[in-house]
Symmetry: C2
Subunit: 451 residues, 2 copies
C-alpha cells in the first residue's frame, strides 16, 4: 500500500533546489522505506523568470502563497526561503490549518521557535527543524531523541561554514579578509550581503537553538555575546599560528547553576583541540555530558545537499508517523551572564611602530597588566604593511579587568587605540605557559621576534 | 505517576560497575524524563568475593541465573558479561520469557545478532545493543533511526580503543608494541589476554554490526579480512610518519553492487584524513551517504562510563515505550569479495642489511615491481637494532599481484622473507606522488635516506 504525500515547497534557492532534486532522485527509496510516495505539488518562488538549472515544470511554480495554503492535498510544508517574513506568517498559517512544517530557518527558530512550537502542539501537528543547524550533522536529532539519561552541560561548535572557509583560506594563503570574502561570494560560499555570517549572527542563531534543546532553556538571541571575524587580519592568524594556535569562529554555550552562558567569537584553539582541524566549509559540534563525556560530530555545514539531507530526514520521520518524533521541551531560562566575568586567557593585538619606538609604552602596559594580576605568557611582532602588529598572549585575568587596563594604556599617540581581543582556549599550546600573578620582570618575554 | 521498573544486571565488571553507578547517580533525572523509577533488583556475578569498590548490597549479588530469570518483577535485562556463553543462553531465555534485553556484547551480536533479533521480535520484546559498538558514540541510534532518505555506502572507523592507545603511544614514545601493551594492561586499557583486541577480532565484530545496520546486510564475521597490530614495529610507525602518514587500525566497509567489502587492518592515513588525528582511547566512525556526504562521529570508545551511557540511553528508550524504538532490518548479504582484488597503494617493510650490501637484490625487486606495473613512490631506511628496516611506498597494483611479486624476491638470504604490507589511504600525503606503470629508472628515488 503506497500512501501519496503532497508537499508544498516554500522557496527554491540553493537548499530548495537540493530538496527538489533529492526528493526526485531518492523518491523510490523513501517509498520503499516509509511506504509514502512523496510528490512536490507546488513551489512558492519570488521570481518566476529566474534561471534555475532545474528540471522543474513551470506550472509547479507560483508567486502566490494562497496557491499552496489553499491546496487541500498538501499536508506537509517545507520552508527553505529564510528570513523572518513572510516565512513566519506562512508557517503559522500552515500550522493553524493542520499541516506539518519542516524548516531550515535558523533565524526564525532562534527568535520565534518557542512560539511556533507551541502553535504546532496546539494544532496537533509537528514543526521540525534539523536543517536549521549545522547542515547535514544530525545534532538536533541527537539532542532531542538521545542523551535522555545524560545531562548535557556544554556545547561548542563551528557553526558557520562561510566564516570557517574565510578563516581557513586566510591561514592557508596569508591573504586578507576582504579579498577572500570576495572569492567566497563568487564561489557561492558567501551571500552578497555577508553581514549575518561574518558578524556572527548566523552562528548565534544556531547556538541559541542548540542551547534551547540541550538545557531545556530559552535563550534571548540578542543577548548572546558576539564578535565577528571582520576585524581579523592575516597578521593575526599568522601570529596566532606562531604561538601554536588556530583561529576559529566558535559558538560556546555552558550551563551552570541554571544559567546559560553563550558566546560566538573568534577563539584561539590549540592544535590538539577537537575543533582546531575543522577546515573549509565543514561544521562541527562538540557536546559535553555527564555520563558519556565529550562527543564530537563533523560534517558539511552548508550547501544544497547536506541541508537537503537534513530536511529529507525530517520528512521521513513525519512519514513514519507520530512515533518517530519527540516534541522538544523549550523552556525559559534565567538571564545569561557574560563570560566577561570569568578569568581566562586572551590574545591581544594592536598596531604600532616597531618596538624600539614604543618600548616605554609597552613597558607601561606590561606593568599595568601585572598590577591587575595578569601574566603575559608570550609576545610576538609582525610587520604588516606600514605598521607593526603587536600580539600578546595574556592570562589569569577577566576580560572586564583586561579591557579596563587596556583602554588608557593604548590611548597614546603611538599605539593604535583600537585593539583586537580574542579568547584563548586550553589545553595550552606547546611552549605556552600561563603565569598568574607574576611581575613583568619574571615574564618569559620572547618579544621582539618576527615570525 | 511513577512506574517502578526492575532491572536484572548480568555482569558486574568494568561496564557493569559503570551501569550500576550511573543508574544510582542519574535515577532521579531518568525518573523526571521518562516517568520510570529504575531499580537494579538483582545482579548475576561469577565471583561473590571479588573486591569491587562499589557500594552494592551483598544480597543483590547471586551466582545463579535462575534468581534473575525466575524473578517475575524483572522486566529488563542488561547483559554486560561479554563472551558467547552463557550470555547467549541467558539472553535467549530472557527474550523467550517476554523480557527486554539490552546488551553491550559485540561478539554475540556480530555472530548471532540476526537470530537473537528474530527471537526478540517473535516474543514482542526488544533487544537493544548501542553499547556494543564505539562506546558512547550513538552510531547505532543514527544508523537505525536516522539516514532513512540517504543510502549509506561506506563506513570506516577506529573501533578498538586498546589498539588506538598502543599505536598512539608507539608514535609518541618510539617504544615497541610489547612494552606498551604491558603498560596498557597495567592501566586497565588492555585485557590480560589481549588477542581479541590486538588481532583485530574486536574491531571486526563491531564493523560487522555496523555493516548489518547500514546496508541491511548480514555479514559472516569469520570472512572479514583481518590484520592485527602485533607485527608493527616502532620503526614502521616512524617510517610511515616520515612519509607523511599516521598508522591506525581501521575497519572499513563498502557496499558496491549489492556486495559488501569489509576489512580490519592497520592503514597509513595522511594527516588530513578525518581519522588520522583520533588518538589514545578515542573511537571515531565516518560514514558516507549519497545525500549528506561524509559524517564523522568521535567519542570515547571504551571504559565504564561511555559504554554505561550507551546502555542507559537504550534503557531510556525502552522506558519511553515502543514508539521510541525501531526494529533493525538485518538481512542476508551476498558473499563479500576481498579487497585484494582492488588496485591500491601500499606500505611495504622488510628487514635486511644496509643498502650497500643488498643493492642488487633491491634493484631486482624494483625491476620486478615495475614489470608488474607497480610504481615505487618513495623509499626510506631506518636502522633498527641489529638490522635495517626498509620501507617502500608502492602504488598502482593490487595486493594479490604485489604479494606474488614479493614472495620470490624477498626469499633471499639477505632480505627477510617475512615482510609487512599495509594499505595506504588517499588523499596523498604532501610530497608523495604515485606513478603508475613507470619503469624503475623513472621512479623518484629518495632512498637511501635515514630518518
Amino acid at each position: 500500500m503506497t500512501n501519496k504525500v503532497h508537499v508544498g515547497l516554500l522557496g527554491l534557492g540553493t537548499v530548495g533546489g537540493g530538496v527538489f532534486k533529492t526528493i526526485r532522485s531518492n523518491r523510490e527509496r523513501i517509498r520503499l522505506r516509509t511506504g509514502a510516495d512523496v510528490e512536490i505539488t507546488r513551489i512558492l518562488v519570488r521570481d518566476m523568470e529566474k534561471e534555475r538549472h532545474l528540471d522543474v515544470a513551470a506550472e509547479l511554480l507560483t508567486l502566490n502563497r494562497e496557491d499552496l495554503l489553499g491546496d487541500e492535498r498538501i499536508t506537509v510544508f517545507i520552508e527553505v526561503m529564510g528570513g523572518l517574513e513572510p516565512a513566519r506568517t506562512i508557517i503559522t498559517e500552515a500550522l493553524r490549518s493542520g499541516r506539518h512544517v519542516i524548516t531550515a530557518n535558523k533565524e526564525l527558530m532562534a527568535k520565534h521557535g518557542a512560539q511556533l512550537l507551541e502553535e504546532a502542539a496546539a494544532n496537533g501537528v509537528h514543526l521540525l527543524f534539523e536543517g536549521s543547524v549545522a547542515g547535514g550533522i544530525p545534532i538536533i536529532h541527537l539532542l532531542q531523541g538521545y542523551l535522555t539519561a545524560n545531562r548535557v552541560y556544554a556545547i561548542s561548535g563551528i557553526l558557520n561554514g562561510t566564516c570557517n572557509y574565510i578563516l581557513t583560506e586566510m591561514a592557508k594563503t596569508g591573504r586578507e579578509y576582504a579579498a577572500i570574502l570576495q572569492d567566497a561570494q563568487e564561489l557561492g560560499y558567501a551571500e552578497a550581503d555577508p553581514a549575518s555570517d561574518v558578524e556572527g549572527h548566523d552562528a548565534a542563531y544556531k547556538l541559541a537553538i542548540l542551547t534551547n534543546l540541550a538545557y531545556d532553556a530559552r535563550v534571548n538571541v540578542e543577548g548572546i555575546e558576539r564578535q565577528g571575524i571582520t576585524e581579523l587580519r592575516a597578521a593575526d592568524i599568522a601570529l596566532a599560528e606562531g604561538f601554536g594556535y588556530r583561529v576559529k569562529l566558535v559558538g560556546t554555550s555552558r550551563e551552570q547553576d541554571g544559567t546559560a552562558q553563550l558566546s560566538v567569537r573568534p577563539r584561539l584553539l590549540p592544535l590538539s583541540h577537537p575543533l582546531a582541524g575543522i577546515d573549509d566549509v565543514f561544521n562541527a559540534v562538540t557536546i559535553e555530558a555527564d555520563v558519556v563525556g565529550e562527543l564530537t560530530f563533523i560534517g558539511r555545514g552548508a550547501g544544497e545537499f547536506p541541508t537537503a539531507s537534513a530536511v529529507l530526514e525530517d520528512l521521513t520521520k513525519l512519514l513514519q508517523g507520530e512515533s518517530a518524533i519527540r516534541r522538544p521541551a523549550w523552556r525559559s531560562c534565567p538571564d545569561e551572564s557574560r563570560s566577561a566575568a570569568v578569568c581566562g586567557n586572551f590574545y591581544l593585538a594592536f598596531d604600532g611602530p616597531g618596538e624600539d619606538a614604543v618600548v616605554q609604552e609597552l613597558n607601561l602596559l606590561e606593568a599595568a597588566l601585572a598590577k591587575a594580576g595578569a601574566a603575559v605568557a608570550d609576545r610576538r611582532l609582525l610587520e604588516d604593511g606600514s605598521v607593526w602588529r603587536h600580539a600578546w598572549l595574556i592570562g589569569g585575568v577577566t576580560e572586564q579587568e583586561l579591557r579596563a587596563v587596556l583602554a588608557p594604556c593604548l590611548q597614546t599617540a603611538d599605539l593604535a587605540a583600537k585593539y583586537l581581543l580574542l579568547p584563548v582556549d586550553g589545553p595550552l599550546a606547546a611552549g605556552v605557559e600561563w603565569k598568574a600573578e607574576t611581575s613583568h620582570h619574571e615574564v618569559s618575554v620572547t618579544y621582539p621576534r618576527a615570525l
